[in-house]
Symmetry: C2
Subunit: 162 residues, 2 copies
């Protein structure tokens, strides 16, 4: 896929996140894209991302909901302003709250599909609803309340450099 992901537009100095930062060599480096009004991210869990034998560790699933959610919030922020993700000022979101319902155990092995939809945009706050699909079955539902990082903090971090 040559299309750039939401995370590819994060400014370098805000791009260290273990879940979604390109600069974090040890992290998950997730990549999220629009598919119409939904966003999607695929992730291949590793054998050590285990909960009990055969199933994915819930903390990983929560992390994927978290970072795909903040990524989608950023993309939604640019969309709401009718501008491309490579335009200034940079928008970056942090998680205010995270909720995850584990509907059924998530089998460890197949690629996970994390999907999201913008539920609400209210000023600097964006609510994202999400779900994870494995082999066509939704095993997890989640919701992220993301808040835009204050401009001063973005500026401060940008000045510090990557």
């Amino acid at each position: 896929m040559t299309e750039l992901a939401f995370q590819d537009f994060y400014p370098e100095s805000l791009d260290h996140c273990y879940g979604c930062g390109r600069m974090n060599e040890l992290g998950h480096q997730i990549k999220s894209y629009w598919e119409g009004d939904e966003s999607v991210c695929h992730f291949q869990p590793q054998p050590y991302h285990i909960a009990i034998p055969g199933y994915v560790y819930g903390g990983l699933l929560a992390s994927l909901i978290d970072c795909h959610g903040t990524g989608t919030a950023a993309a939604a922020g640019y969309r709401a302003e009718n501008r491309a993700m490579d335009t200034e000022p940079a928008l970056r979101y942090l998680t205010a709250s995270l909720h995850v319902d584990y509907l059924k155990p998530t089998p460890l092995g197949p690629v996970l599909e994390i999907r999201a939809r913008v539920k609400e945009v209210k000023g600097r706050k964006v609510v994202i609803e999400e779900w994870i699909v494995v082999n066509g079955v939704t095993t997890v539902k989640g919701e992220v309340v993301a808040v835009q990082v204050p401009d001063e903090l973005v500026r401060e971090l940008l000045e510090k450099g990557g």
Copy 2:
């Protein structure tokens, strides 16, 4: 500390979890203990557990809330039955739902203290409320609804071996 942690009593075949399993060499291997009616766990984040520079990755904090919660649920289950954690049958809990409120950014560097209290026990379901303290400040609050793993599944996994 020579006292055994909640997680040290997990049966080997249920002890692979990335967050809390002794058998997972690549995982967090958290250790939780009672302190009166509260349980406590200390965790040292690594430099790569970063969100934005200077702050801990929210997915890690969610994971710690998750696994310290299910550990505390197990310990509470034994307490409710007035028996030690090395007695049979083994009790093991999975997360049904997880909620995390990020009250303020969690500084990356100091050891984190994750604390929990049993809020409700209802049959096989235990609700655990939690909070994370750094340098004396509570930065995260969370709640885990944990459900006891069905006996058949415990038996099946025990028969498969570790």
